[in-house]
Amino acid sequence: MKAKILLVPLMAAISLALVIWFVYPAITNGTDGLLEKYGQLKKEKEKSAQLETKSQNVKKLSAQLASSPEEKKVLFQFLPDSMKEEEIIDNLNFLATNSSLSVIDLSVGQPAEEAVEETAAVAGPPVAADTSGQGLMGGEEGFLPVTEPAERNFEVTFSVVGDYEKVKDLLGKISALERFNGIKTLEIRKPTGQEGTGNSLITDTVLKFNFLKKRDVLPDVESSAFGLEKFSMKTIGDIKNSKSTAILKLNIDQAGKANPFLP
């Protein structure tokens, strides 16, 4: 009889203990309870929806690029995907000759070490899908930082001899070249001794050119490009408006020589 009386509070205590130690933590415990897993599922669904949107955007942007070959040409001319040093030599020589200046030095340097621009605080691609079910609540584990390839700069040393007005004209034409360039240093001086006479000036310039290699790594899904529905071609319009010196296309007339040492 006494045991029967004790059974009710005992069962009530066991029920309470079950709720406290098992049921409630299974529902929510701040890390991997049912509610947290629901939260994670919601997050995953949102991520998938975003990916779907981005995927649709990529299709639209790709179609836009396919229908804008002229804009693409302007952009790749302004920032090419390789050094194209022959293009620089040919164009600088042509511009100098066209401005009645004599070229005394034209050398292309090697590009600086490849740099990678890291965009901090943005989640990167998953290294591999987590199929174990472990670490589901780990947030961004297995994600790498986003990297965007950066342009590589190289220097071109260019020296000419000629009148001041012609030098100024040449500098204007170089600055309006359809390919990006910037003057790093410019020295204009009067010739000394045997260097020359009269009004001729010696102009030594170090020009900065660059290029951006086509990406050899797959892009990250967090890339800002995929958030766009359409490319704004404003930059290309600005390039067209500010760069008026057309780039010459170099053609090889003939090739092949039995003795390469013969002049």
Partner: protein, 172 residues
């Protein structure tokens, strides 16, 4: 005489197997067990759904990255860099024009040296006398184009009786 009824009605009833209180507690107990079971089942289901979603995401992610995304990302990156570098640097012709405007007739240039990193122009000037040198420095200081003007070394060239002096112009 008072009527005393000593008959016991309960005596006829069968004894209960479990009391009301005990029944209530048992119902709650089994409800808790059932709820726990449901929670565990849901937990397993949600966990597997999360794994499935992650796997689908990774698959779709790779599919997207290997498609046209590379060309799109490259174009966007190229355009962003172009936008940044397009605004870079000063037009040297503009600097030359600003120098031309500030030159006084009694002074001429012997050398002109522009340094983009230092954002400065160093001019080697030749003047008739110290007065013209001073006037030239003042004229550059009066120009709105330059952020700062510093007078450098000055020396008298005995052969020509001219003053060689340096002016450092800081660009804005």
């Amino acid at each position: 005489m008072a009527n005393i009824n000593l008959a016991q009605d309960n005596a006829a009833q069968e004894p209960r197997l479990i009391s009301k209180g005990m029944a209530m507690v048992l119902i709650v107990f089994f409800a808790i067990i059932l709820a726990y079971g449901i929670v565990l089942l849901l937990d397993m289901r949600v966990k597997s759904e999360v794994v499935q979603m992650k796997s689908q995401y990774a698959e779709a992610y790779e599919k997207m990255r290997r498609g046209e995304a590379s060309e799109v990302a490259d174009f966007n990156n190229r355009m962003n860099i172009s936008q940044k570098i397009l605004a870079e640097g000063l037009n040297t012709s503009e600097i030359l024009s600003a120098v031309e405007k500030s030159m006084i007739p009694a002074v001429y240039l012997d050398s002109y040296s522009y340094d983009a990193d230092g954002s400065s122009v160093t001019l080697g000037c030749v003047g008739d006398n110290y007065n013209t040198a001073a006037k030239q420095i003042l004229n550059f200081k009066n120009s709105d184009f330059f952020a700062g003007v510093t007078a450098g070394e000055t020396e008298l060239e005995e052969e020509t009786n001219k003053i060689n002096f340096t002016i450092i112009l800081k660009l804005k």
